[in-house]
């Protein structure tokens, strides 16, 4: 369907634009509804202005097993304020109505999608202007239904790969992937670390051998210096917890960090 390819295309275009600028794409994660839904509505257009290439909106879940303390707290806070999956999708529709054009991807756990109904949820996402989904607790073996639904509606179901994913499995994941490959930079949960993981270059090279899709590194990358290092290896860098932490300080704090990240990630000639 013609309209349906929009999600995948918008994501591909964002990475292509960054590549044409000879830089890695800056992917920003925000927990939707944290510190409030109004804040998210303000923050996303600001992110676009400040130079983010793609935004992941975290759909809060009661039991976020892949997340560290910062995003756990944000999820809990967002839930306390009544943020539901439907509200997150409405938020995307509002952002689109307000003129936000950058790719928007929802990142959330599988149970809320199941509870909504896989087909209904994906349809609502497409109608609202969501471009893709990232579901951290849904490995490809279990993703059949969601994969089919997102394919039918032209959304990218972006798979995660980990440093301990064997090469053969990595190739299999890459084969069915759309949008980009999300490379979890290190074992463990989301959240800042003192330094980047060892062996990132080899890991990214392994993923390159398996896929022609853009590769984005995320989990544990928080400072501009770390983003700069990661940007030398991958096609995109995801910054999550560090942004979520700043979100409480207000939009100016977030904007400052995003501009710093963009500057740090610019490639020296």
């Amino acid at each position: 369907m013609a309209e349906g390819v929009t999600g995948e295309r918008r994501i591909a275009a964002a990475f292509a634009t960054a590549a044409a600028d000879r830089r890695a794409a800056l992917v920003i994660y925000l927990t939707a509804g944290w510190p409030s839904l109004e804040a998210t509505l303000t923050l996303v257009p600001m992110l676009e202005r400040a130079g983010a290439d793609l935004v992941e909106l975290g759909v809060p879940f009661s039991d976020p097993i892949a997340d560290g303390p910062i995003i756990q707290r944000a999820s809990y806070g967002a839930l306390q304020q009544g943020t539901t999956p439907r509200r997150c999708v409405e938020l995307v529709a509002q952002l689109r109505a307000g003129g936000v054009r950058l790719p928007l991807v929802l990142m959330g756990y599988y149970n809320p999608i199941l509870a909504w109904g896989v087909g209904d949820c994906v349809r609502a996402c497409r109608e609202a202007g969501v471009d893709g989904l990232i579901v951290p607790d849904l490995p490809p073996e279990e993703a059949g239904e969601l994969d089919g639904a997102t394919r039918a509606d032209g959304l990218a179901l972006i798979p995660l790969v980990a440093p301990n994913t064997p090469q053969e499995r990595l190739a299999g994941i890459a084969e069915g992937a759309r949008g980009f490959l999300y490379l979890v930079s290190r074992p463990g949960t989301t959240g800042p670390r003192d330094r980047l993981a060892d062996g990132l270059a080899d890991y990214v090279a392994r993923a390159r051998r398996a896929s022609r899709l853009p590769l984005a590194l995320g989990f544990g990358i928080s400072s501009p210096a770390q983003a700069r290092q990661a940007a030398r290896l991958a096609d995109g860098v995801v910054i999550g917890s560090a942004i979520v932490e700043q979100a409480v300080q207000g939009p100016e704090a977030v904007e400052g960090l995003v501009r710093e990240l963009r500057t740090a990630m610019a490639r020296e000639e």
């Binding site: 839930l79 599988y110 509870a115 490995p139 279990e142 798979p159 980990a162 440093p163 074992p187």
Partner: protein
């Protein structure tokens, strides 16, 4: 009650860890490789006679198996009706059936060359069993426990520490078993290289439900043999409480092909209608198939798919999901599930102490309470087999404070 043979169930789970529509492996990619490693190591261990012999030896000489099967005459007389037999898992080392699983998985951890073991615990029984096995095998041990559970099961916290384990309080969410499992999974996602996650119930991602069933199925096998020896026949009904469902699946598995009615008892808390309970099967409004902790099963959740808070007097049953094989057994009609309220469990707790001199765990008291309902409806020639999954020492402080509270209320009223 209708009973169906369970021929197909014997071959389950399938290769992907499914029991019909339930089970599977819903985990972050980082945990896939560790789970594959675990499944392969477990299959290899099972095929190794040396492993089986060592486990059997420890179960006998260290854990005290076989545990007795006991005809509770005074309880039977009190109930009036079928004879009630108790499978005395409360007499196993560390005071509950949890040691069966902990020994098996502890040996597996050592065999896999892991130096550190992590575990979650609700009532503390699995944490104590894991800490015990780690002391026995010389492994480092960290136990995650919700801070709400630490408060109501304080003696077990001290026991774990005495046994050399580090107890890490979990303050997230409802501060109970569910949150302890979240935190253990997070730990394992970064520590799997040298760390073994010793999951305590028949839940979680494949292969845990299978492994825990295998390691707990000695309960049912022994009870079946013991009852045949004592009575020359099988029970009419086998009853067990169901939190995650390890003691229940351990009891049920041996009877899967027998004409025995299997009854699982969930925590009814303050009553299904109050919404304050942990009855995944008993609350059709909020108990629906869902995904939590790596497995698809029945799950108490709100309309948006957020996991619901649960309530039970017993920490071990206070869990919003249930092992996937129970969802399957219920769906095919092989087992039925019912619930018992806090006050009914507490009454059974007191009664068993008074008429048999046995203080059960509050979890197990749920199964006793159900037996007290069933026995009077049956012929005196009938037999109800109850898995007395643990003893109640850990619950005394909590129960006494409840009694005192009730007395105060009565005085004030």
């Amino acid at each position: 009650m209708q009973m169906k043979p369970m021929v197909e169930a014997c071959t389950l789970p399938d290769a992907r860890g499914y029991y019909g529509a339930y089970g599977g492996r819903f985990v972050p990619e980082t945990l896939i490789a560790p789970l594959e490693e675990l499944a392969a190591a477990y299959a290899e261990a099972q095929a190794d006679a040396g492993f089986r012999v060592e486990l059997a030896h420890l179960l006998h000489t260290y854990a005290g198996r076989p545990t007795p099967l006991y005809l509770a005459r005074r309880l039977t007389a009190h109930a009036g009706g079928a004879r009630i037999y108790l499978k005395r898992e409360d007499l196993a080392h560390t005071g509950a059936h949890k040691i069966n699983n902990a020994l098996g998985q502890g040996l597996l951890a050592r065999r896999m060359g892991k130096r550190r073991v992590i575990a979650e615990t609700g009532a503390g029984q699995h944490g104590v069993a894991t800490a015990t096995v780690c002391a026995l095998l010389g492994l480092e041990c960290t136990v995650y426990m919700g801070t709400a559970d630490m408060a109501r099961q304080a003696p077990n916290v001290e026991r774990m520490r005495l046994l050399g384990a580090e107890v890490r309080g979990v303050d997230g969410g409802s501060r109970t078993l569910k949150d302890a499992i979240n935190e253990a999974l997070r730990d394992w996602a970064s520590s799997y290289e040298d760390t073994y996650y010793l999951l305590g119930s028949a839940l979680g991602p494949h292969p845990y439900p299978l492994m825990v069933r295998d390691l707990q199925s000695c309960i049912g096998r022994e009870a079946r043999d013991q009852l045949l020896a004592a009575e020359g026949r099988l029970p009419d009904v086998a009853v067990a409480c169901v939190g995650g469902g390890s003691n229940a699946i351990g009891l049920f598995h041996a009877f899967r092909d027998d004409p025995v009615v299997l009854v699982g008892v969930e925590a009814g808390g303050q009553g299904i209608e109050t919404g304050r309970h942990a009855a995944r099967f008993g609350d059709p409004r909020r108990g629906r198939p869902g995904v939590l902790h790596g497995t698809r099963s029945y799950l108490l959740q709100d309309e948006h798919g957020q996991v619901a808070e649960t309530f039970s007097i017993s920490a071990g049953l206070d869990y919003p999901a249930v092992g996937p094989e129970h969802a399957y057994l219920r769906e095919i009609g092989r087992a039925r599930y019912t619930s018992v309220r806090d006050d009914e469990a507490l009454a059974a707790f007191r009664l068993l102490a008074r008429v048999e001199g046995i203080i059960p765990a509050l979890e197990s008291a749920h199964a006793v309470a159900e037996a007290l309902k069933l026995a009077p409806t049956m012929d005196p020639g009938g037999i109800v087999l109850v898995n007395l999954s643990g003893r109640g020492d850990k619950d005394l402080a909590h129960v006494f404070s409840l009694f005192r509270g009730a007395q105060r209320e009565a005085a004030d009223g």
